[in-house]
Symmetry: C5
């Protein structure tokens, strides 16, 4: 998994029928130092994430292991909202700070 | 998933029998800021996309989760035509503008 | 899928038994502008491709969806010989030109 | 698999129910010369690894082949703590040195 | 698949039980011109490869399609020792030269 920040959302009316009722969010990938990278992914939201939330996302077939994404043609899913992480014992990000 | 623009199509007569009746489109990958990247993929079309459409595509085993691509040797599928997306509340792309 | 050119072949006598009778070709990846990239893959041939053919190849689990590659430890397959492709209506490559 | 060093951990309360009771560690990827790379992954721990341990991690569907990760939406797992490795007969890393 | 050279091995005592009795080799990736790249993978050996052997390795779920790696949490396998390969009719590597 990688850490990213929810920065937007995508609207698509014409789509494969298996995509119905899925929320598609734009996630900007962050480094483990919490610096934004010039890299993004459009991921299905399985945890009611919102804009500015730091999240964990999984890609590939693992993205189809949630109840919402099972057997659907999606290759990225947000499966957690990050509360905090640390590096070498020092806090890097704290949602509730 | 990533966002891309349909820029062309591929014709192939000699191919695995499981590729029959699939439309193969050339998709140029775009950044979430809508700038084109020097990266492309040839993807199966599952939504009757056309040239200049902005689309979402999925890769890997997820590309085989549509009715058209099930059990076929393809690793990329266009599964949605993008109407619009926003970043930080500001519209980045609007199909009908 | 990506487009590539068949540039060579690999000989391997000592190999997993599931690799028997598979032809292994060296494919140089090309851009959608048909410029060769400094990137290659060794792919199983499922369409009797030959040196100098422009081909489409699929990677990952999708590479195991042909009759020849089913359940084998291979992660890339040539599943089509490209006749032609176009970008923005202009022909980029034409096999029979 | 790649070699990495455990450098931190991630806390996430709001998450897919299938993520319950999984420890999420931040792993910095190392080269085979043991130099740290500017690349990381958040991986599920299946071997009770701790901070500063050198570990092996697997990604993609292979990350779901441990008892802890089976059928869960995770795409990276730590499946071994590295004791040592060598290159060309010379020891590169030795846990117990 | 990619071509690589076996340059070392990894020892790991504490590991997932499904990793028992697997030999883990460090493979440096080579280009199709046989130049070493600054890229490596730790792969399971399924063909009794040894240091300095040029090998083919497969990654992802395809790495689990050998008898040794079936259902194990590994994402790379050496499935062939390369005897030779050619580019444009010219021999690039010959094991027995």
């Amino acid at each position: 998994m990688l850490i990213g920040k929810v920065v937007g959302s995508v609207v698509a009316t014409r789509k494969d029928e298996k995509l119905s009722n899925l929320k598609l969010l734009v996630v900007q990938v962050h480094g483990h130092d919490n610096k934004p990278k010039d890299q993004y992914v459009v991921a299905v939201d399985s945890v009611q994430a919102g804009v500015d939330d730091m999240v964990l996302f999984a890609t590939g077939s693992s993205a189809r292991q949630t109840t919402q994404t099972d057997a659907r043609p999606v290759d990225a899913v947000i499966m957690a909202v990050v509360d905090s992480w640390d590096l070498g014992g020092a806090n890097v990000y704290e949602k509730w700070a």
